[in-house]
């Protein structure tokens, strides 16, 4: 496959970035998108050009490291997949592909396609946990949990912290990400104890870090590789208002 790749190159956070065009004819439909970038980088390295930097690790859709904005979509075309699962079968010979980093004030570019997502960690540090010390837990069967609720908590807990929801949102809101954690813990009896403080601490932190407001457009849900549902945001709102009036 012959491709024209227009890739965002940026030396570091302070430098100005720009799209650079690369004509690349070494792609094959069998490759994953990241393998295609590997192959292109090999060519660059051999030509003594700095290769394109991007985050990746597991390459099986679970660690959340990878993430690029491809032809206007976070994680590219294809529903419910991460960039590392994107296959070159999705593209045709002769295609022009635009590749950019996540764009959000709270996610400054580190280099090329790598962004700094520590803001996500900071929100979790603000309250995304249950305060229980090692060794203090009761027997797991001491508190039964309704299967439906446990399953729902699981569905919220599968968020991989990739940041696509923020990148997809015109306001760069982190609501879907935050609501996933809030929901998981709010649905479980173990998490109820600190629910009030948690939702306030996490939402305040999110605002403080420069993420935008949620205007219910739903782009986050549409682009989320793990299909985290908007229901979580509704649950977060409910938790947040309850916390307020308490």
């Amino acid at each position: 496959m012959k491709l024209t790749l227009k890739i965002w190159r940026q030396k570091n956070a302070d430098a100005k970035g720009k799209f650079v065009t690369y004509d690349f004819d070494g792609a094959s439909p069998d490759m994953s998108f990241l393998e295609m970038l590997d192959a292109m980088n090999t060519k660059l390295i051999k030509a003594r050009i700095d290769p394109v930097a991007f985050d990746h690790d597991c390459r099986e859709g679970i660690c959340g490291a990878c993430g690029m904005y491809i032809n206007g979509h976070p994680h590219g075309p294809g529903k419910a997949i991460t960039t590392c699962h994107l296959s070159m079968r999705e593209f045709k010979d002769g295609d022009t592909i635009y590749v950019e980093p996540w764009r959000a004030k709270a996610f400054p570019v580190v280099k090329d396609l790598i962004v700094d997502r520590t803001a996500f960690d900071k929100i979790q540090i603000a309250g995304g946990f249950i305060s229980t010390n090692v060794g203090s837990a009761p027997d797991s069967h001491a508190i039964p949990v309704e299967k439906r609720k446990a399953d729902e908590a699981f569905d919220s807990a599968v968020c991989i912290g990739c940041g696509a929801c923020v990148a997809a949102c015109k306001n760069a809101s982190a609501m879907l990400f935050v609501s996933a954690k809030i929901s998981q813990l709010a649905l479980l009896p173990q998490g109820r104890i600190e629910a009030t403080e948690r939702v306030q601490a996490m939402v305040n932190k999110m605002d403080e870090l420069g993420f935008g407001n949620c205007s219910n457009t739903g782009a986050c849900e549409a682009e989320c590789p793990k299909e985290i549902s908007l229901v979580n945001i509704a649950r977060l709102n409910r938790e947040f208002y309850f916390a307020k009036i308490q």
């Binding site: 590997d38 090999t42 790598i114 700094d116 979790q124 540090i125 946990f129 060794g135 797991s140």
Partner: protein, 639 residues
């Protein structure tokens, strides 16, 4: 030959750990605040240890090379985590789990450590549940269990096919809690490049900041390595592509013995390699073997599509060879059996290097919905990657490099041969012998990190309470930093023509062919020679971008590949030395008439711990004799 002292407490097996805890030295809260501990790695073992030590009041510095601790490779474990709760009332007990692990490891692990791992397994599950890990539940609201390969009870707790992710995110949350309380400081995007030893004690590490390239010094009273295994030695493996043994290897070169390096698990159910550009292999959880049946056609080179092959022309070779365990035989047995069929010409798929994993019968019996509830995400993964829809057609699977049972030698305290250097989780060697049973990696990593290390490290630190914070101005830090910088400069100055990845691929091929599922003396010797030549080529023809003060992912890879040449060489030495077959280590010279692995207990009932004696010098072998008091050593049969 020196005798290694594993420092196993006296007394009956079931009382050792209790007694140890009761007599271990303690550190009072005021002193804990003055003690620093470095933990490298943020997987279940590392982040578990960091948060547990933080809760106790130590000052912890936790490092990872990813951008956030939540991405450590424990996240990718699929199937489950074992515990001896016996919630199913099917006769499980601590002893039984212990026994299964000893037998599963083919009698090459240390009784006391394994028993302790089984003993703390229940605490681990309780802790995860309390932290909000959403394990699967039944309609009564209780936790559900499933069974896993190599055992006959249901003791595996799970969260769909994402158990590792859920356990890791739970652990990440406990880490975050400690970060919020100021007991743990997180250093992401750092790679450990050297260990610092002062007056015989481990006192710190040198890291490279992967964003700025800065070489940094970090000191502590003790260092814990929780850096995972070396499965990426085959290049293609089920591991994350950046997983690497470099931190453990640096420690090894500073004096930590490396044990049983040739014990590496080849997982039987991975998606086969599809093309030459592939950068990794994706695992399909072993739990699939609970309902899926493995087969190949009875006729060689049968080109019919799977569903057109009638029942009596299918060879369910695991059920045929191992009627007692069938598709649930342990991983090493299942992997070898697949290789045997494919080598004999019965393999399926484009390359002939694949076998079928078929759900037709399970779907017929239980319905598509029930199967979807259990394996939905795995089926989806299979569909995304291969285009095969496992609800209709059987999956194609083939073995792939997965988990390393070998690792840094540790005693009962989980301390290496360097005082003050501990190793936990996959990075140590202690619990899985020559083969790991399914769902015991998460169990061991969490047990080590949360429940075992905090006691043993306190016992060590109790003697160090008078030592003030360690300064990084010491000559030893100076020297370590200098050697790190020199090596990085050496790598960038080669200025050749081939990339680090291309070397890694070739290295991986050598290892897969000669030191993979099946090994023999001739092949191993050949591999040693090939490795040497390739290593020389690497050091004269590598090309990487030269900027040391910037994000330089090629430099990261090159450093790891450089270490891999040395790891590979030791792995081959170990495989050559062990002329018996055991567990995952299969020496063709040592097999039964039916082709099963043949152990040689008389000569090899020991842990091979290798000492580094200097660049290009031969390794020195130390033996830890294994004593089995509480189990009878038998032939390991699953027939």
């Amino acid at each position: 030959m020196t005798k290694l002292d594993a420092k196993i407490p006296e007394g009956p097996l079931a009382e050792k750990w209790t007694k140890y805890k009761a007599s271990a030295k303690l550190v009072n809260p005021a002193n804990k605040k003055k003690l620093d501990v470095i933990v490298v790695g943020t997987g279940l073992a590392g982040a578990g240890a960091a948060s547990s030590l933080g809760e106790l009041g130590y000052q912890v510095k936790n490092f990872c090379f990813q951008d956030t601790p939540r991405r450590a490779h424990s996240v990718a474990a699929q199937g489950g985590i074992n515990a001896t709760k016996n919630y199913k009332n099917d006769g499980d007990s601590i002893y039984r789990l212990f026994y299964d692990m000893i037998k599963g490891g083919d009698y090459r692990s240390r009784e006391a450590n394994v028993y302790r791992a089984a003993e703390v397994s229940n605490d681990v599950i309780d802790h995860f549940t309390a932290m909000g890990v959403p394990f699967a539940r039944d309609y009564g609201g209780n936790l559900d269990n499933r069974s896993f390969g190599g055992v006959q009870v249901s003791r595996t707790f799970y969260a769909k096919g994402q158990t590792g992710q859920q356990c890791l995110l739970g652990t990440y949350s406990s880490l975050n809690r400690q970060i919020s309380q100021g007991t743990v400081t997180m250093y992401p995007r750092r790679e450990m490049l050297e260990l610092v030893i002062i007056n015989g004690k481990t006192r710190g590490i040198i890291t490279r900041n992967l964003i700025t390239g800065e070489i940094e010094r970090h000191s502590a009273h003790a260092v814990v390595l929780a850096t995972g295994g070396y499965g990426t030695i085959y290049y293609l493996s089920t591991l994350a592509v950046n997983s690497n043994p470099s931190a453990a290897w640096k420690a090894h070169k500073k004096g930590a013995f490396f044990a049983n390096p040739s014990f590496i698990q080849i997982h039987p159910t991975s998606i086969p390699q599809l093309n030459e550009y592939q950068s990794k292999l994706t695992l399909m959880s072993e739990s699939l073997r609970n309902d899926g049946r493995i087969w190949v056609p009875k006729k060689k080179d049968d080109k019919r599509v799977a569903n057109d092959i009638p029942e009596d022309e299918r060879d369910y070779y695991l059920e045929r060879r191992y009627p007692a365990f069938g598709n649930l035989v342990p991983r090493d047995v299942a992997s070898r059996a697949a290789k045997e069929r494919c080598d004999a010409g019965y393999g399926v798929g484009k390359t002939g290097l694949a076998v079928y994993l078929d759900f037709r019968d399970a779907i017929k019996k239980q319905g598509e919905k029930a199967i979807e509830a259990k394996y939905g995400n795995l089926f989806e993964l299979c569909r995304i990657i291969t285009g095969i829809n496992p609800y209709k057609d059987p999956m194609h699977i083939y073995p792939a490099g997965h988990y390393t049972m070998g690792g840094l030698w540790v005693d009962y305290n989980l301390m290496t041969t360097i005082p003050g250097l501990f190793s936990i989780g996959e990075s140590n060697f202690s619990d899985h012998g020559a083969n790991r049973l399914g769902a015991s990696a998460l169990m061991q990593a969490s047990g080590d990190g949360y429940f075992i290390l905090p006691y043993t490290i306190s016992n060590y630190l109790a003697d160090d309470i008078k030592t003030p914070r360690i300064s990084t101005d010491n000559q030893e830090f100076e020297d370590a930093e200098k050697s790190v910088k020199e090596r990085l400069e050496k790598l960038v100055s080669i200025n050749g023509t081939q990339t680090a990845t291309s070397f890694h691929k070739r290295l991986g091929e050598i290892m897969w062919n000669y030191c993979g599922m099946s090994r023999n003396e001739e092949g191993l010797k050949k591999a040693k020679q090939m490795l040497k030549e390739l290593k020389d080529e690497f050091w004269t023809d590598l090309i990487i971008p030269s900027d040391l003060n910037d994000v330089n992912q090629e430099l990261e890879k090159a450093g790891r590949v450089a270490d891999y040449f040395e790891v590979a060489d030791l792995m081959v030495d170990d495989a050559l030395n062990r002329t018996e077959s055991c567990g995952a280590h299969y020496r063709e010279e040592s097999q039964t008439p039916e082709g099963e692995a043949l152990r040689d207990d008389k000569n090899f009932s020991y842990v091979a711990a290798w000492e580094y004696t200097g660049e290009l010098k031969p390794y020195k072998l130390h033996k830890e004799e294994l004593k089995f008091v509480d189990v009878e050593v038998k032939e390991r049969s699953y027939k």
